[in-house]
């Protein structure tokens, strides 16, 4: 449905290079990348706020490349929501109606539906300055959805919200996508949000697309060291492959892998949460080692544990409770392991 073909955008200090993306109708598509990777720039290019230097943009087989922003029937919700401060909530929501030639009764019906489903009934006469972050976001969504855009673009929709509203907003976005079946393109640098919301996505770095696929595939089979690291993988090392056994050069550690790595695979990675502490004799993990705890550092609710086997160092994430229950501390030696299925190669 949305096809970006050989898109290039040259700015004095940054460029988007040869972007090719395909986004299907009703997709919740995530553009994922670190700050400064060009994801918001690409979003503004799709919106028409910045002209591409070359390439083409097709939406439902119609060429949008040179179409004026106001004629695209796309809507964007910004990170800071960009509500008009001199208009109240109702006026903000109705703002775009007149430009889309929506009959007044139809607009009123959509307004009532959105106000009710987004829980805005009590704040329709309020000024945007007097709204919480969550309320502002819901008003911005209603303002965009009232004219039924063909695509809804979300620029870091969750990053400006307090943790209190974060989960609530995630559920709301999911609900909007599921109930209205709107095609959504979301920009985010938080992979856990993306994993919950999106079905497809692309990893962008320095203005280039590194990988585009189903979100689960990106999560489980990242195609580069950067993507692996970005989706939360640790223990990333170069490998030598011998059938289903991987050898980490210099370290001499042998690691069993559930699949036969591809010819081009040069690295392996293991998620830290897939490395388990073994408190009883068990060999069902396939990869089992004895190691000494060299470092324990806080990661919020969980703790990062560095484990040294003598040949190799692993990083694991365990709960505080588990650490306390087993009296684990720096210098202590323990058994740990992980399944061959937890070993990813790329």
């Amino acid at each position: 449905m949305i096809h970006l073909k050989n898109i290039n955008l040259r700015l004095p200090r940054f460029s988007l290079d040869d972007i090719n993306l395909r986004i299907n109708k009703r997709d919740f598509f995530a553009l994922i990348g670190p700050t400064g990777s060009g994801k918001s720039l690409l979003l503004e290019g799709i919106m028409g706020l910045i002209g591409f230097s070359s390439g083409s943009l097709f939406i439902e087989n119609r060429d949008y490349t040179r179409l004026a922003v106001e004629r695209r029937n796309l809507a964007i919700v910004y990170q800071d929501f960009a509500l008009f401060p001199h208009l109240n909530v109702t006026q903000n929501i109705f703002y775009g109606v007149r430009y889309h030639k929506i009959p007044k009764p139809v607009a009123q019906k959509r307004f009532d539906f959105l106000v009710s489903s987004l829980g805005l009934e009590k704040i329709t006469q309020r000024s945007p300055q007097n709204l919480s972050g969550g309320e502002k976001q819901r008003v911005a969504l209603a303002r965009s959805l009232i004219f039924n855009p063909s695509v809804l673009l979300l620029d870091e929709p969750l990053s400006a919200l307090d943790p209190m509203f974060h989960e609530e907003a995630k559920l709301l976005l999911k609900k909007i996508h599921d109930e209205l079946e709107t095609t959504i393109i979301m920009v985010s640098h938080n992979f856990s949000d993306v994993l919950y919301l999106a079905n497809r996505g692309a990893i962008i770095r320095n203005g280039q697309i590194l990988q585009q696929d189903d979100i689960i595939t990106i999560f489980e089979r990242p195609n580069s060291k950067f993507t692996a690291s970005f989706v939360g993988m640790k223990n990333i090392h170069p490998i030598q492959v011998h059938d289903k056994t991987l050898i980490v050069p210099d370290k001499k550690t042998k690691i069993s892998c559930a699949h036969t790595p591809g010819d081009t695979d040069q690295y392996m990675g293991i998620r830290p949460e897939d490395i388990s502490f073994i408190d009883i004799n068990s060999n069902h993990y396939g990869n089992q080692y004895s190691g000494r705890i060299t470092k324990i550092s806080s990661n919020g609710v969980f703790l990062n544990i560095s484990l040294d086997t003598g040949d190799h160092c692993f990083e694991a994430i365990w709960s505080r409770r588990r650490i306390q229950d087993h009296g684990l501390e720096v210098g202590k030696t323990l058994e740990f392991g992980f399944l061959p299925e937890s070993v990813h190669t790329f």
Partner: protein, 259 residues
């Protein structure tokens, strides 16, 4: 009671002479003429006409700066223009150069020896000794105050709001009318007030372009040179009082109008 920081006391101590420098001469001058003298002056038709002319032509210059300076302020605030800094420097020029020079420059352009002067003359527009000439000069000296004030206003509106409006379907003009203007009109009112205020006080450029019809500052100068301080002061007092009341009312109006 809130404690005042010692640094603030120091700053207040340093500021006091400045406030006195600004207010003492004006207060002294305001209370110098007798009530009889003030009454007599305001009954003088020439004085009333000169003050009215000063205020009305200055206000016209303020309105013209609104009409012509708003697009320029918008371009300077929003667009990347080649030579933007040079254009900004040119706009600030009238603040820097001696005002008689402004008058001479305008006259040299409007004279019969210059193609523009000949064109204006052929169109029946006279600059020398006319209200048109006075307004041209007042616009020249007042425009920087309008453009700089309104440019700051446009800069205070996030571009993102205008972008959001465009993405909701509004064109560029509609976005300006519905978003940019409502968020900057106070700056425009302030710009008009600043431009008008500057124009009312203008003497150096006006006296060269149009000694007659006489504006209030020119009349004050004429009375001073012909009759002395005693006869020029009451006109100055009336000009200050009327201008002061006018600007206070304008500021109150601009604050009281709700969105």
């Amino acid at each position: 009671m809130k404690r005042i920081e010692p640094l603030n006391w120091l700053f207040m101590f340093i500021s006091l002479p400045l406030i006195l420098l600004l207010t003492l001469p004006l207060i002294k001058m305001t209370f110098q003429p007798s009530v009889e003298m003030l009454k007599e002056t305001i009954c003088d038709k020439d004085v009333v006409a000169a003050i009215a002319r000063s205020i009305s032509l200055s206000f016209l210059a303020g309105i013209l700066s609104f009409a012509m300076g708003t697009p320029l302020a918008y371009l300077l605030a929003r667009k990347r223009i080649i030579g933007k800094r040079i254009i900004e420097g040119i706009i600030d020029l009238p603040i820097m150069i001696p005002h008689p020079v402004v008058g001479i420059a305008i006259l040299s352009l409007a004279g019969r020896n210059h193609p523009i002067g000949r064109f204006l003359s052929d169109m029946g527009i006279q600059i020398m000794g006319t209200k048109t000439g006075i307004v041209s000069v007042l616009l020249f000296v007042g425009l920087p105050f309008y453009v700089n004030t309104v440019k700051a206003g446009f800069e205070s509106v996030p571009v993102r709001l205008e972008n959001a409006s465009r993405t909701l379907g509004a064109g560029a003009l509609s976005t300006f009318v519905r978003i940019t203007f409502p968020l900057t009109w106070r700056h425009m009112i302030l710009g008009i007030i600043m431009c008008t205020a500057r124009a009312i006080s203008e003497f150096g450029a006006v006296v060269i372009v149009a000694y007659h019809p006489m504006t209030a500052p020119v009349m004050i100068y004429e009375r001073f040179t012909a009759y002395g301080l005693k006869y020029s002061q009451p006109i100055a007092v009336w000009l200050i009082l009327i201008s002061f009341v006018l600007f206070v009312v304008l500021r109150m109006m601009s604050k009281s109008i709700k969105h």
